[in-house]
Subunit: 321 residues, 2 copies
């Protein structure tokens, strides 16, 4: 059943021994929303804790520190920013069928919980959580505001993407009125790269190929490059944005060699090109500006197949118009 | 004399034939604020125009298009985001001593105009201009909002830097309520690089040197690299942030070979290192986290001198504490 922010707060006020589940490979939004809720419930004298399939990265330490460790038998299960029980991960899979309340902003939410507060218009679950905490009567201080800010900032690319709304800015203004500091958070979240990532980017950029009057740019990340740069999956986040950011490029393609020897391609386009249509030609799919597909054969064959697919779109959408 | 937003609006309502001056090498804030004011005055039936020492870059076309070209003899001179008459540039220098009204957010403003509306707490002049337009009774539609948004976003690194306040977000929320689109603006302002810039970055990163357990990273941009990548001065914007963004780096150094053969160094640090102290050892200066100096001799000598200066700070601030 779908419920709203006020009903969500009412339900939580009735409960104690609340376990808040985060999604696997946790990001700023699930961590910020889950920990802020948990700390808020604890501030009301309730027993509450968080659980996550993966260790929460150290850079979020200023958020996880808000939650005091407590030992208790969970009675009420909440999922924060978890669109699908599958995203709880192996360790928390057994909770999948018994989530009492889900608070989430993903339009794709499976409505798997007994009750769901879902707002697909919210830029982040943290944006919704600000309202829930207000309903709970929790005082949002600078530390709690920093947790919510983190989720909003990371899910919007620091207010850069189109999911950012007037409401997003209003809520952020209220959070900043607590006196919280944003500079260090944003530096860590947006302006810090590992040395390994920098090494991998350098190798990828060294091999960048341009085609069709620089309208298409292609980078390739091979297994050898991953080994040489010693990069984990975390280090790859956002790397697919590199080729498209070049002025004049309408199709930015990133080819990643998989451990099984196949190639995963990410295609990012600007109008009038349609990434989903390009990938559909190769058995993949996605959104108009971001899509993907998987290719077999040699790297050279994969690259040529992608270039042909991009070329067909270019011919259709640009040269013949 | 210092005046406030209401007085500024009152003064402007009394005037006609208003010429709005931008600063040289115009950025998003001077363009956004100047053009929004000019378009606002025109919407009130006044004659108004803008002037700038340099051609306004094409990517700001959606802002300059708001100003209808008009021929008139200027009677009232306004400077927008111009902290010092020197910043008007050669072509507009003759206006320096006869600016009637200056609207600016730089704490360093020389108070050179007859009247100045100065708010050093504002993140951008565009943030102040939103209040001036309200005082003028100008209806801010989506197009005018986009102009003001551009200045706020570009001066705050898209709400990332510490100059961003709760008020910045409140004003942005009001601008977004007009229905303006932010995605394309932010893509052009923040996620677009020229191919030449990418080429130069690649060369700079290829030559990146790490020192002192990776606490210091150094990149060098030679004249040969500039020629090979065909990069203009515009393409270099923000390149000094590259070495410091690497996790664990406390001092990021960028060495640029000048046309006279000397070397200009930019030092960017994180606490506890002090960039100004590092550069002071080499005859330069600046702020605690961003400073610079100029060095003579060979590139190798310049690099060694910078490394020694960084090493001394590291020894003082870290190893001995």
């Amino acid at each position: 059943m779908r419920i709203d922010a006020a009903q969500t707060a009412k339900r939580l006020l009735e409960q104690d021994r609340v376990l808040v589940l985060l999604h696997q490979y946790p990001d700023g939004d699930t961590i910020g929303a889950g920990c802020a809720l948990c700390a808020g419930l604890q501030s009301l004298g309730k027993q509450a804790g968080i659980a996550c399939n993966h260790t929460i990265p150290e850079r979020y330490g200023y958020i996880t520190r808000l939650v005091r460790p407590m030992e208790f038998e969970p009675e009420f299960i909440v999922a924060a920013d978890v669109a699908d029980p599958k995203l709880l991960g192996d360790k928390l899979a057994h909770f999948g069928s018994r989530v009492n309340l889900c608070i989430d902003h993903h339009g794709s939410n499976k409505l798997y919980a007994k009750e769901t507060y879902l707002d697909p218009g919210a830029a982040a679950t943290c944006e919704m959580m600000a309202g829930v905490l207000a309903g709970l009567g929790v005082t949002v201080d600078a530390a709690l505001a920093a947790a919510l800010y983190t989720g909003i900032a990371t899910d919007t690319g620091c207010f850069k993407y189109s999911n950012t709304t007037a409401k997003t800015h209003f809520i952020t203004a209220k959070l900043m009125e607590t006196g919280m500091e944003i500079e260090e958070i944003n530096r860590v979240m947006f302006d810090t790269k590992t040395k390994n990532r920098v090494l991998l980017e350098r190798m990828a950029m060294d091999g960048m190929e341009f085609a069709f009057d620089d309208r298409c740019a292609i980078i390739t990340i091979t297994r050898a490059m991953r080994e040489q740069s010693n990069t984990g999956d975390d280090d790859l986040e956002g790397i697919t944005t590199l080729p498209r950011q070049i002025e004049g490029v309408l199709a930015g393609v990133t080819i990643r060699e998989q451990t099984d020897g196949r190639f995963k391609a990410s295609v990012r386009t600007h109008p009038p090109l349609d990434a989903a249509a390009i990938c559909a030609r190769l058995g993949g799919g996605g959104h108009p500006n971001a899509a993907g597909c998987t290719l077999e054969g040699t790297l050279e064959e994969a690259r040529e197949a992608l270039k042909s697919a991009v070329k067909e779109q270019l011919d259709e959408r640009i040269f013949t118009h």
